[in-house]
Symmetry: C2
Amino acid sequence: MSGSKTGPLTIGKVARRSGIGIETVRFYERQGLLTKPDRTASGYRQFNEDVIARLQFIQRAKELGFTLNQIKELLSLRVDPDTSCNNVKARAEAKIEDIADKIRTLQRMKKALIRLTQQCGKRGGGSECPILDALDRRRHNSRTEGEHRDDNCHNSGMPKMRKKRN
Amino acid sequence: MSGSKTGPLTIGKVARRSGIGIETVRFYERQGLLTKPDRTASGYRQFNEDVIARLQFIQRAKELGFTLNQIKELLSLRVDPDTSCNNVKARAEAKIEDIADKIRTLQRMKKALIRLTQQCGKRGGGSECPILDALDRRRHNSRTEGEHRDDNCHNSGMPKMRKKRN
DNA sequence: CTTGACTCTGTAGTATGGTCCGGGGTCGAT
DNA sequence: ATCGACCCCGGACCATACTACAGAGTCAAG
């Protein structure tokens, strides 16, 4: 250790070291993404070192499409006396599935882009919009027309609907 | 083939089949994410089938943290007469890097969560916030205190700054 | 003890990405 | 012809995630 003369972590230092604006740090605190820091007698915030990793995590997670609320949940996933193991485990497993899904889609997108750069060398005229292939990987949906799992079917007990035009 | 009686794709059908609101489809059109559809004599939009894949791609990409503008770029990555191969290739490669980076971070997050579910069985009291480990993978930054690549150093030719307190 | 960098709170404004009318025209079954 | 489902457009409104003041107090070097 021997933290040099780092001194207490004021909000300004936290902001500079994490690369996030002061206002934003305060904002995250208000939103409950940061645990309320201690205060000096005069009201200045005193953060612990770990808030910096937390802020960086938040940044990264945002780039990955998580909302602040989802990030809050991710950050609250921990095993502690107040939370049952099974509870945490279930929530974590749901997140893992989410994430695995994102990874799969990203990998397909990446593959599609790589294919694009490769076909680049040879004759022009590949797919019209190659990246869309990223989501195809077989159109086994079948449900391409007729009934799309909603209204207009089996209207039971309704006054007298005239029939949807579509 | 033999498109059944699907009829021309009105905005309502597009919306239902892609699971996106009508207003949102119009919004994406305004934002230039969809090519302007043909119109009937009376002004009704007539979409082609492929707009549905496009809309689903947009949805998915949004969940992955891409902004509408980034998505527009992704959709415009194609090899055609108007765009030089090298141009496309360079842009695509940049995207590939972005994506690879996202994948790496997601994989670390996933790993951290898996570790969490595992340590769940055994003794309580693991890391305080396990998911943060997802970003650590060694703190080789060194730059943990002192000078953070900005102001206050080497003030050359300035009137007489009194020195930043921090 | 002055001064300037820094902090506080609270409120307002911005950008992005939709979402919701209202007023009006269109289409097709009855 | 009429009625209800659909469509059009323009503009207002909303949630999320910041970002920017304003006004006032704090801290420490000079």
